[in-house]
Symmetry: C2
Subunit: 404 residues, 2 copies
């Protein structure tokens, strides 16, 4: 599959996190000859926080992770992820597959089963051939390496056209703290939670409850603000592991929060940039709404509208469809106070097209690969920013025969 | 543009409604050489009921119609509709255009301006060249005819590939009552109101408040149960005119309600059959939900899911995406009680694929042009049925360059 035109030039050089090791290999879960399983282990004492899909039909893996997060935070931890099969809607078989994989990892790595976290991503509703994974666990354990993160990012891809990684080193009281993360996600991306798989690691020293609080809050302004197609995955998982190996306590550090935010937002944007069939990266800003909830309703209505997204694909400055989306959003709106901009171009104000606007200027703007649509509602202080991509025929092609 | 493969074989022979006349012509509102304006007049005493879009950015025409519906029900009435320009988001100019058109029709037909109803459909945000319409009003008046309804149905089309009409003659206490309607709609079709233009006429004798009550109730189970793309128009209008010329009082007639229901549902289905790019007509049935609201949430989540709709386009029996849509709907769901059928084929039960299901049977079923997806939630008595179409590359093509 061709790499998205919006992809970064290369996988980044990520900081190596002391206390975290990665391995990956091809287990043949669904397809032969491609890496499809990754294993991560974390040193004893690592704190693990997570955020998961709220889907009512979420996978056995997600349910298992949610149950484990509140448990004993001591001892080593492990994360094992497969692509090719999501183990979702597989009835009691799904629970059995998770248990079998956790048992194998526990045995091989000497990690308490309650500290083994699993994710599966891929086709829904087909029984996970977990024997193919458990048969490879010892091999995965034997090849664990602190520098295996780029290969691990490859192993968790499904319809992704590029592997996604982001990292920073932040300064906390004069001492460096490292953060590195990977993600997968391309379709079935919607606002209600981190609709994808994301694994972020840091050598920061921080308690699990505090880490969980930070991760949950940052999730609201990063992964929960992206949408590709308004569909919500049954498997979405974000896990953050903090090893404490830097010895730097970040509990009260704003630098750490900012660094983690930047890594999460970078990964979230990379998922949009790999939106199925995407050719445009679109930032939707809404300001002046009655409140933040209304602002988000308007931003999401624009970002999810098939008519807005197809117009963007066609490089058509069709601001009338933006008006339509504002109208259907459910937010309070006053037609004559709405102001719309494409980039810096004032398009509409006073309930009508702006006097200064020309179709030529709008059309020229739409040819850029990165676009910003800004709506000023003129009512209050509510604001919201979300990120999305266009809707192209390629999305249809990818999803009309994904399984075959 | 090629006619939808789901179109009926021909425009139906509609009953001629005594007291209603139609005319239509080409006024060059946007394109030259195609009929784009229709005029209807109704005899004195006709009751007019209506239902409109709830969009916060609805057009000047919709606001004007809404203000007039509660007014004096006596005297003749008129409806004038143009295609090519929606007169939506045109600021104060839009109100002026509506007033100018109403004044011209009032003068030409001798109808009180408060009984002139207007609709405009087409591009949003461009000033309506209403002079082109007012210049033709006398010509429209001169050519009014009781049999002009089929031509009128042509005049209101935009991206429609076929003209839409439906009619019945019902028996009320041994006497015939006629109902005939036309509609336009193809894209920007979503659940929140009759997202299109619909005009229905009957010679029934009925007071306006009673007619309004029946129309509003029937709208909930017809036009509000269809979705093409989840986008809500700024112009949607359903007007029903009852002339009383049959002399048959239908105030308490269930036959009349049933007949009107059938005409409304027929027109609603025709809009779905002309969904932009549609190749499949899909009925989504949900039963056994906790309540009717939950049932509708699930049905609409399935019907609006881009991933479900692209799978249908690809004739892929991808029931996992139906599970995904149930999960994201917000309705109460118990994975292990959900039962899914494609037509009569049991696909999933007990939280997993059905033992009897074969991919071959599912794939063969999906090749049909008319499909039914049924979900039994296993929780309560809530139920809902909605109708939709698939999402194809043709939808993208149509909407990526509709304006150019």
């Amino acid at each position: 599959m061709a790499i998205s035109p919006l992809a970064p030039p290369a996988f980044p050089d990520l900081p190596v996190i002391d206390g975290v090791r990665f391995s990956s290999l091809a287990a043949g879960v669904r397809y032969a000859g491609r890496k499809d399983v990754m294993l991560v282990d974390l040193v004893p004492g690592s704190a693990v926080a997570g955020v998961f899909t709220r889907s009512a039909t979420r996978s056995a893996n997600v349910l298992d992770c949610q149950a484990k997060l509140g448990g004993d935070p001591f001892g080593p931890a492990a994360i094992i992820v497969n692509s090719g099969n999501s183990n979702a809607f597989t009835g009691k078989h799904g629970d059995g597959s998770v248990a079998a994989i956790c048992a194998a990892v526990s045995r091989s790595l000497g990690v308490d089963q309650k500290r083994v976290f699993t994710s599966s991503t891929g086709v829904i509703g087909e029984r996970l051939p977990h024997d193919r994974i458990t048969a490879k666990v010892d091999e995965l354990t034997a090849s664990l390496s602190p520098t295996g993160i780029a290969d691990a990012a490859q192993a968790i891809m499904t319809t992704d056209t590029f592997a996604k990684g982001a990292g920073v080193t932040v300064d906390v009281d004069g001492k460096p703290v490292k953060i590195a993360g990977i993600a997968k996600g391309s379709g079935m991306i919607a606002p209600d939670m981190a609709t994808m798989l994301v694994y972020i690691f840091t050598d920061a020293l921080i308690g699990q409850p505090r880490l969980q609080g930070i991760v949950s809050a940052l999730n609201q302004e990063t992964f929960n603000c992206i949408t590709v197609d308004s569909d919500t995955s049954t498997s979405d998982t974000l896990l953050v592991g903090a090893t404490g190996t830097s010895g730097v306590d970040v509990s009260e550090s704003t630098a750490f929060v900012t660094g983690l935010h930047d890594v999460m937002l970078d990964l979230a944007h990379q998922v949009v940039r790999d939106g199925e069939g995407a050719t445009k990266f679109v930032t939707v800003n809404v300001t002046g709404a009655a409140d933040n909830d209304d602002a988000r309703k308007v931003a999401m209505a624009i970002a999810n509208s098939p008519l807005v997204k197809t117009a963007i694909a066609g490089e058509d400055p069709n601001w009338g469809r933006v008006v339509m989306a504002i109208g259907k959003s459910g937010a309070i709106a006053d037609r004559d106070k709405i102001c719309i901009r494409f980039g810096d171009i004032l398009v509409a104000e006073d309930g009508w097209i702006a006097q200064s606007y020309t179709e030529e200027a709008g059309a020229a703007y739409m040819k850029q690969p990165e676009l910003a649509i800004t709506v000023e509602m003129g009512l209050g202080e509510g604001k919201s920013t979300v990120w999305t991509c266009d809707l192209t025929s390629r999305y249809i092609e990818i999803n009309a025969d994904y399984r075959s």
